[in-house]
Amino acid sequence: MAYAGIDYYKIDDLLTDEERLVRDSVREWVNDRVIPGIEGWYRDAVFPMDRVPEMAELGLFGPTFPEEYGGAGIGDVAYGLAMQELERGDSGFRSFCSVQSALVMYPIFTWGTDEQKRNLLPKLATGELLGAFGLTEPDYGSDPGSMITTAKKVDGGYLLNGAKMWITNSTIADILVVWAKLDGVVNGFLVEKGAKGLDCPETSGKWSLRASVTGEIILQDVFVPEEMRMPDAVGLKCPLMCLNQARYGIVWGVLGAAQHCYESTLRYTTEREQWGGPINRHQMVQERLVIMLSEITKGQLMAYRLGRMKEQGKASFRHVSLAKRNNCEQALNIARTARDLHGANGIADEYPIMRHMMNLESVYTYEGTHNMHTLIVGADITGIEAYK
């Protein structure tokens, strides 16, 4: 293993043996199976589907759930470390696992019927079934409560109408978790691939998350049988709780991308010579390297503490918002600084920098924009909801 990770404050000492083993195993897989191919997939705008069974074999789909549902029962810190390593490879891989675990398996596990759990969770864990999560609409992003997708009660089930946008994996998903208003209240439905009236066109032309599939979900009188509604998934708080799970993974994930950028920059500025010496001998370069390291270290401590709080049931969505806001912003800053310090080479895909930078532009605004997370914490400390 050539890469030992950035650990300036010996956070390794705070981890259990199992947590370190999880991190190292995912790291090794990413080194062998993601990093050698990622620039090509990114260029071609494809997600390599042959990696899906490998990720399932590793146990990356729903690892926090109990074994009876195909999980490994790992804790939140171990899960976070796995997400960090995946995103060191590419945000697209972390997104893939976030969607499957936090946005599809989590709602079924939390609000699904016993039958839905028994039938779907083990297959989602093995990757036999792939999932997607449909909340965002073309006109409703930060304000999902105003969604216009509706469900109407009919004999034996429901008819869904509406459209969802910016949906990771919608075109390849077997099961779509779709949020729609039933009598004015948001409800969660499980829509199966191939349902009549369902269309999931791919969204092309992305300059970010290119090694990840994004699409729409268009629903025209799509019939969902009664047994495919999640009976307890009622109210806007449910999809928001899902997003909270996914955001937690992002808190760690972006640290992986940031570490990859820092590592590349440290090496590049050591090897790159101008005026007869390496450019890292200049104070302006050193200061910026130190700022990168400092922000990575602070982000790690924040993620670690948040993870322990989550394991103890003490982490609220506000805590997750503060960390998601901070770590995404800092990771993006680090990627941009790395881009600068690599000079012209920073734009070439011989280096991972520009790819991470473009990915982080998405991560900065998806799963709740940076501004929204600012205002969530702002509302918490002042008591005033400024976003409304």
Partner: protein, 249 residues
Amino acid sequence: MNIAVLVKMVPDTAATIRLNADKSWIETRDLNWVLSPYDEYAMEEALKLTEAEGGEVTAITYGGDQSKEALRKALAMGAHKAVHAKKEGFTDLLGTANALAKAIQAGSYDMVFAGFKATDDDCAAIGPMVATLLDWPCVTEVHKLEVGGGKLTAEREIEGGHEVFEASLPAVVTAQKGLNEPRYPSLKGIMMAKKKPIEETEVEDVEPRTETVGFEYPPERPEGRIVGEGAEAVPELVRLLREEARVIE
């Protein structure tokens, strides 16, 4: 079929090795330790055999507390149990081989696997030494293996070809790259490993027969030399490669 696999932690193969102040040992502070890469091939082969034929894989290591990490990694890969022949401090190769052979004799195994060498000291000695102490046949640096009917057929690479051995079981096999593709420990495997037993055994003191006197860095590489330019430089270059560097004949 019950199989023992000898495993060991080594400094990360990409790490820069420095010596301590009195050059009596390597500086271990800030070193990242990993399971010796050839041990991963040994583990994978043992797991594949027991998955096909039944039986258990026992990982065995020798050394101080830190060496236990190797057992955890082996258990996470899928070993059923582990034995830690525990002893702090330095022992020579024979002492290590003795301790491992004792641990093997305390169990009941049809085969023993080991990496053909550990990537730290590169001795490639422990496998054959253990086999000698057990009085079992041994095939080293194996890159292809078949086991069945109480015997094994093992292939190893030699200069310009392959060597094929047959041996009756029990036997010791040391693994070379190419034997298989080692699996990544799965998250489930890692969590299950927590519940698997690690048995600690006492190790008797064996008088070392060799003593490590000290360590030295390899001599610095001399700077390159330009022998000339263009086609007229070729004969001189060939002469130097043949007579001085001795890399061509």
